[in-house]
């Protein structure tokens, strides 16, 4: 039971699929035009996610490893069809407004990702709760984004426009609330002025139609990722494990395992990530965020080289080469991942006082705080000074790697 609650917490806050992992962006952007749409989409996804997790977990020993992906897709598609038919029958209005995006739940990265990374390895109950937790996290995120977009774009909340609320428009209501909070009976000039400014300013409030249109979705997401960047930067400075943030699902849903695609790249992703690695490494050497012209040229050279290799060695050899090329990087990744907890432990020992002093500014910081707490037991590892210094070297390496991974995640 404890594990089930942990799964719920993990899905809703610690690894929130939208706010932390940045998975399933297509439906997030397309459907969040209003809060009620977001809620409907989120709940539909949750039902599919929970049931498919349960089913896949129940059949995890029967399904042969080689055909597991098609098997998962069939299971997921079955539940999607069920949900779609149910919505069509009982909530036709929602079915109408969500359109093809209900069918497209099948290709939502979150579902296949959870099936692959959690349900296929764990027992039924935790898998069910993992699905429910992730689904609730997704629902929460979609509803919040939908709420913001709907309020800015149409001036309503859950479809309720101003006049429905106590005969006042929403902005008027807000002004009224602020006034009451200031002083309901005051006739002082400050309150009068405040009142007048607010009324004048907000009574001219007209909805920004663009927020419910396509561009608004991109802008909202841009702001969201910018906030994530800031939090990630802060977390890095405090020595916390921020690898999960914005790990995304880089252009390939089916190979998205535990939402860290960089660990299990396909051939294509290897090519792409190698490219961007080259870019990033060169950029790092120049110690600048901006990339010099040569770098782009280098990238082209790299591409040409790759092509030459292919011509010379034939495809299979080339693939082998690529694998052997990328092997060291992978090894380092694994190593550093294995020692990640210990590293954070080391950093914590040194920064313990600092980290105690850090003020929890927002909910998101809370998440990081919690993830840190989990690794605290690791602190008990005994370490000699030599080991510790080695660890610090790896910390630096890890940071470099981390930044490279960030780049590929775009």
């Amino acid at each position: 039971m404890k594990q089930c609650m942990e799964r719920l917490y993990n899905g809703i806050i610690k690894e929130n699929p939208t706010f932390v992992l940045m998975l399933g962006m297509c439906p997030t952007l397309a459907v969040s035009t209003s809060a009620i749409n977001g809620l409907g989409m989120g709940l539909s996804t949750m039902v599919v996610l929970a049931l498919s997790n349960l089913m896949i977990s129940a059949m995890r020993k029967i399904i042969p490893d080689k055909v597991r992906i098609p098997a998962y897709i069939v299971i997921i598609a079955t539940f999607v069809t069920l949900v779609e038919l149910l919505l069509h029958a009982y909530v036709p209005a929602l079915h109408e407004s969500l359109g093809i995006y209900i069918s497209l739940i099948v290709v939502n990265c979150i579902i296949l990702g959870r099936a692959e990374s959690y349900a296929s390895k764990n027992k039924m109950m935790p898998s069910l709760f993992d699905g429910i937790g992730m689904g609730l996290g997704f629902t929460l995120a979609l509803t919040l984004i939908g709420l913001v977009r709907e309020f800015l774009g149409a001036g309503t909340v859950f479809g309720i426009s101003g006049p429905d609320l106590y005969g006042a428009s929403l902005p008027e209501l807000i002004v009224g609330l602020i006034n009451q909070w200031l002083d309901p009976n005051s006739t002082s000039e400050a309150v009068q002025l405040w009142n007048r400014i607010l009324t004048d300013e907000i009574s001219s409030f007209s909805p920004m139609g663009i927020m419910v249109m396509a561009p608004g979705a991109f802008f909202i997401l841009a702001i969201l990722t910018a906030i994530q960047n800031v939090i990630k930067e802060k977390g890095k400075k405090a020595g916390k494990d921020v690898s999960k943030i914005q790990s995304g699902c880089n252009s390939d849903c089916i190979n998205c395992k535990d939402s860290s695609c960089a660990k299990y790249p396909t051939d294509a992703e290897k090519v792409i990530s190698e490219e961007s690695d080259n870019l990033q490494v060169n950029g790092l050497i120049d110690e600048g965020a901006r990339l010099p012209v040569e770098v782009v040229k280098d990238e082209d050279k790299q591409l040409q080289d790759d092509e030459k290799q292919e011509e010379n060695n034939g495809l299979q050899d080339d693939e082998k080469k690529k694998e052997s090329n990328s092997l060291p990087v992978d090894e380092i990744n694994e190593e550093s991942d294995a020692e990640l907890n210990e590293e954070t432990a080391v950093e914590e020992v040194s920064d313990e006082i600092n980290s105690k002093e850090t003020v929890i500014e927002s909910e998101d910081n809370n998440i990081l705080e919690d993830s840190m707490e989990e690794s605290k037991p690791e602190k008990k590892h005994k370490m000699t000074l030599l080991e510790a210094t080695q660890e610090i070297d790896i910390v630096e390496l890890e940071e470099l790697l981390g930044e490279e991974e960030d780049d590929t995640d775009e």
Partner: protein, 195 residues
């Protein structure tokens, strides 16, 4: 007959520019943001998407018209389409690898990325929902994917230029790309009066 052709042209313009698959329907967002670092790779991805979506809408249209509808099992369309598309992409990859080496080199690495791309399934389902006939389905699929290629190549071009700009720290990386995409979406809104 001429009415039919006019209708086809309207559908083609509509799905490539007016309701662009990425910029107004948000389908295929992952590759749009993930594989748009350089114009060269973006063009490769665009080519692969055109290839796969056109083929997939042909196959899905044939299946729906000649198998699902006569048997009265159209409610299975989601399951059938996703499996057929996944199998199709694998098959195309093998076929290209064996018989058309040069095309495989140009598009091959991108094919696995498209297997579960929502744009492919989205087009197939849209075709069915709007009750397009086979030719219209293929034209719609082709136009949609051309719209994808246009969008991703433009974005890649802009990103290559943006790499040299001085961007505020929090907006570096993904956020500035999204802002760019948003501005592109505004520009594409301008096509709304076209048809």
């Amino acid at each position: 007959m001429s009415d039919y052709i006019v209708q086809l042209i309207v559908i083609a313009l509509g799905s490539s520019l007016v309701s662009n698959v990425v910029l107004s329907q948000f389908l295929g967002l992952c590759p749009f943001l993930g594989v748009s670092k350089s114009v060269k790779t973006a063009a490769g991805m665009g080519g692969a998407v055109i290839f796969v979506i056109t083929l997939a809408s042909l196959v899905a249209g044939l299946l729906y018209g000649f198998v699902l509808e006569p048997l009265g099992i159209t409610f299975l369309k989601t399951i059938v389409f996703i499996l057929v598309i996944a199998a199709l992409v694998q098959f195309v990859e093998l076929f290209l690898k064996k018989y058309m080496k040069s095309l495989y080199k140009a598009l091959g690495v991108f094919l696995p990325l498209i297997t579960t791309n929502c744009a492919v399934l989205g087009v197939a389902i849209t075709n069915v929902n709007l009750e397009y006939d086979l030719l219209t389905s293929v034209v719609n699929g082709f136009a949609t994917s051309v719209g994808f290629a246009i969008a991703i190549i433009i974005l890649a071009g802009i990103r290559e230029k943006i790499a040299f700009n001085d961007i505020p720290k929090p907006f570096q990386g993904m956020p500035i790309v999204l802002v760019t995409a948003g501005l592109m979406a505004i520009a594409f809104c301008g096509f709304a009066g076209l048809i």
